[in-house]
Amino acid sequence: MIKFDNVTKIYARGARPALDGVSLEIPRGQFCFLVGASGSGKSTLLSLVLREEHITSGRAFVLGQDIAKMPQRRIPRFRRQIGSVFQDFRLLERKTVFQNVAFAMQVIGRPRHAIMRTVPDVLDLVGLAGKDKRAPHELSGGEQQRVAIARAVVNRPQILLADEPTGNLDPRTSEGIMAVLARVNQTGTTVVMATHDVGLVDQARQRVVELVEGRVVRDEASGYYGGDA
């Protein structure tokens, strides 16, 4: 699903690499945590997968495609198979919950009847049934993040990238978000989640990849946030 082979990313000439010779393989359907301090390269890794940035050297395959060689015009279709969630939710304030989720389908030209059928299902999946007419500012932080997750998965992506999705939320709410992500993962979606949240990682017992200064220093199949505890 995602395969990095000695990938290096340098943003500015002469700067320290953001990623330094990372090799990593994430198979289909896996739930994988990326942990590490701020600036360790977690977000860079996610933006390379999404093909927002070019890799500087090495080879990277996502969904079977060599992302270094992918032409510009193929990027939109490629991204339709990847969902993204961020720490700051990035909802559209002037749209309702339903419209926010529907937006992701509208802008790739999905027909109205498909939108009317799919969006309620997805809102149900993330636990927001009945709140479809609310505005984002009427929702709690956890509910807003659920909307963002619903928007990320409404087009049934094969991969879900989550960059610190619980960074702005309290522990109890974070557990709820984690449960939603686990549910998304159970539908067959590969989930890659960058996080600082020790409790969540320790509880989930999933694969943990730790980055330090752009290098993979630990990769455990069923790990804890801080290594063997």
Binding site: R73, L92, A104, V107, I108, G109
Partner: protein, 306 residues
């Protein structure tokens, strides 16, 4: 769904950017009005040229009694033989095809015309009939070929001067073409302003919708789909400007210029035709689309890339 979505986005952009959009409409309106005015002036020049050249003639001034050493007047006033030679020349096989009609005006009649024209001013004080010779007026079949006639008879004995009226026309046309150039210069400067303004509007619009476009890009919307609302926003504003310009040109031609010119300058200008405004309309619309297109290309290439 797609169309409705794009239209809703444009409407939203118009509401949010109302003042910028108004500025775009006004600047394109004024710049396209200048373009339209230049085009209409061109039409007008063509028409006046047609009218005037039809009336254009060559005047052959023959030597007066008081002629000293001007022209070919060494022998004093034009003699009957010399006059006949000139008239024969005009009727010759060489010149006949160019000459439609000739008429001879006597020296006395020319003197009277002069007095009527300048009567009462100092210009008539020292003037006597002896200073005027007869004039042959030659109407031409092809007004552009006046030189054939002036060259042929200009050097004949007894001819003071063969004058065509092209000098007069050329001065008028020169004035009109300078006006046209001025209008085009205004149009060019304002056109540049319009392009920059549309570009800025698109940029502002794109900035204010960065979150939307960011999400669009993330979920894999195509470039065209992301950019279309911005392109159309500029294009619709420019089109509105061109519609206003056409309306203004037509209104000015119909309600103001037509009457005014006819009252004051009918002889010089001929009449201004409001239909000209309709004739330039398609060009202005094309110009508006071009302005918006150039601006969009300039802005979006850098802005909403994947």
């Amino acid at each position: 769904m797609r169309l409705r979505f794009v239209l809703a986005e444009i409407a939203h952009g118009f509401r949010r950017n109302a003042s910028m959009i108004s500025a775009v409409i006004l600047v394109t309106f004024v710049s396209l009005s200048a373009v339209g005015a230049a085009l209409m002036l061109q039409f007008q020049v063509e028409r006046i040229k047609g009218d005037w050249y039809g009336r254009m003639e060559v005047s052959i001034y023959l030597c007066p009694e008081d002629a000293v050493d001007q022209g070919n007047c060494a022998s004093g006033a034009v003699s009957a033989d010399q006059l006949e030679a000139v008239e024969d020349r005009l009727e010759s096989a060489e010149l006949a095809p160019y000459v439609r009609e000739t008429s001879l005006q006597s020296a006395e009649s020319v003197f009277e015309d002069y007095q009527v024209r300048f009567g009462g001013s100092y210009m008539t004080d020292e003037v006597s009939v002896e200073m005027f010779g007869p004039v042959i007026h030659v109407a031409l079949t092809d007004p552009e070929k006046f030189e054939v006639v002036t060259d042929a008879v200009g050097a004949m004995p007894g001819v003071l001067q063969a004058v065509d009226q092209s000098d007069l026309f050329d001065r008028l046309f020169d004035l009109l073409s300078k006006l046209r150039l001025a209008a085009l210069a205004v149009a060019a400067v304002l056109g540049l302003a319009a392009v920059l303004l549309i570009a800025t509007t698109i940029r502002l619009s794109a900035l204010s919708r960065q979150r939307e476009t960011g999400i669009m890009r993330l979920v894999g919307a195509s470039n065209l789909f992301i950019q279309l609302p911005f392109i159309l926003e500029g294009a619709v504003a420019a089109l509105l400007g061109s519609v206003l310009a056409v309306g203004a040109l037509w209104g000015v031609a119909e309600f103001w210029l037509a009457g005014w010119v006819e009252r004051n300058f009918i002889v010089v200008m001929g009449s201004v035709n409001p239909a000209d405004a309709i004739a330039v309309a398609p060009w202005l619309v094309i110009a508006a689309v071009a302005l918006a297109g150039v601006s969009s290309v300039l802005t979006l290439r850098r802005f909403t890339r994947v």
